[in-house]
């Protein structure tokens, strides 16, 4: 369903097993060009699902993993995403990996990547400001925008509010159910018990913020130092007992 005025275009779309909330502002927001961009952006989300879904046997990814399809025969975006996964694995010292459970599974990166791509499509159609929330991970372009961070321990409450005036800002929050952590505690066979209830990473690109938040959550106690040193990222965390911490550049 979409709601439009002449200066604002909003749309909610079910795709990739989650819900994408579009919020687009600008004098052009209600124009046919903008609506066409929205259709294209929505189509790009469904396309990402078709190509990358680990749940669909006929996705290019599933066929690639089975050996029914060669990488050279996949869409170029498959190579792009796998290369981004390699970058993310290096940057996170392996705490994010597309091979976290054995077979290739880039879905922990695909959602943020798809959101960023769709948001940029809307911006290139002439929007002044775009906010696209894909299942809790957000790409902002332009502004101003105010984004609340859901409190992981108190449903309905916010832990903090982030304001973006202009430019690009991505906000990704990770909790226990993220995909892409391959570090398993050998005692339990599960990801390590974390002292964190959630961690929010802020950067320019959601493709980055998403994987960094996933990795940071998996790291637990190591996350703070890692994020403090990581260029282009700031972070805010809620610990399991409800306390919070943030990187030096996240607040003053």
């Amino acid at each position: 369903m979409s709601e439009e005025s002449t200066t604002r275009l909003r749309h909610v779309e079910d795709a990739m097993g989650t819900v994408f909330s579009f919020d687009v502002r600008g004098p052009e927001a209600g124009t046919p060009r903008s609506r066409a961009a929205l259709e294209a952006a929505v189509a790009s989300l469904h396309r990402a699902d078709e190509v990358f879904s680990a749940y669909r046997g006929d996705s290019q990814l599933s066929r690639l993993v089975r050996g029914d399809l060669g990488l050279a025969d996949c869409d170029p975006e498959v190579r792009e995403v796998l290369a981004l996964c390699d970058d993310a694995e290096r940057l996170t010292d392996g705490w994010f990996s597309a091979r976290y459970a054995g077979p290739l599974d880039p879905t922990g990166l695909v959602k943020g990547w798809a959101v960023e791509r769709a948001a940029r499509m809307m911006a290139s159609a002439g929007a002044d400001a775009v906010c696209l929330n894909g299942g809790g991970d957000i790409q902002l372009l332009g502004g101003p925008w105010r984004v609340g961070i859901a409190h992981p321990l108190r449903p309905g409450e916010l832990a903090t509010v982030v304001e973006a005036a202009s430019g690009e800002l991505a906000i990704a929050t990770s909790g226990p159910a993220e995909r892409g952590c391959h570090i398993l505690d050998p005692r339990t066979g599960m990801p390590p018990e974390s002292a964190l209830a959630s961690i929010t990473v802020v950067s320019r690109s959601l493709t980055d913020a998403d994987t960094w938040a996933t990795a940071a959550f998996a790291m637990g106690d190591r996350a703070r130092d890692w994020l403090e040193r990581l260029p282009g990222a700031e972070a805010f965390a809620v610990t399991a007992d409800g306390a919070t911490w943030q990187t030096t550049g996240f607040g003053s």
């Binding site: 809790g136 957000i138 101003p144 409450e157 005036a165």
Partner: protein
Amino acid sequence: MSTVKKKHPLRRMVLCTAATVSGIVLMLALKQPAPGTAAATAPVQVGAVAGSPTASAAATGSAAASAGSVQGSASASAPASAPSAAKSSAPAAANVTRSVTGDTAQTQYGPVQVEITMTGTKITAATALQHPTGGQSDQINANAVPKLNQEAVTAQSASIDAVSGASYTSAGYKQSLQSALDKAGV
């Protein structure tokens, strides 16, 4: 790991915090739009806003200046009748009051459905239309419902556009704050 001091490509971000239980406001003023993005508006320096007070009596009253007198109305509202879910696609005029009904959320105590009353573009009250009754859940819910009201109002009184949280599925979305914002549609 290297001991090189961290670079700050985000050095243009200006961040302020004011710590309260339910609202810490950060201001990020990115002065340079990246190439290819939408035309950037001039950076808007919003005055530091203290977090929205909780229902605690210790909360200061000076916060949430933009939300007006939100707190007082939350506990006073009590519509028992069916909601009128007026959803318009035109921008809401100031001072027009309307109601929007959220989806029913299944909580551990039973189904809860919240109706939000909006005046203009601000949520001024949130009331549970459905809440579990009977037995122990009554006692639990006596505390839960007013808090739900205050929290729903508190989130909106921060005038947020979107909510980031741990990944939700399509089913989880229905219980999310993001879904309430999308439904309110302003």
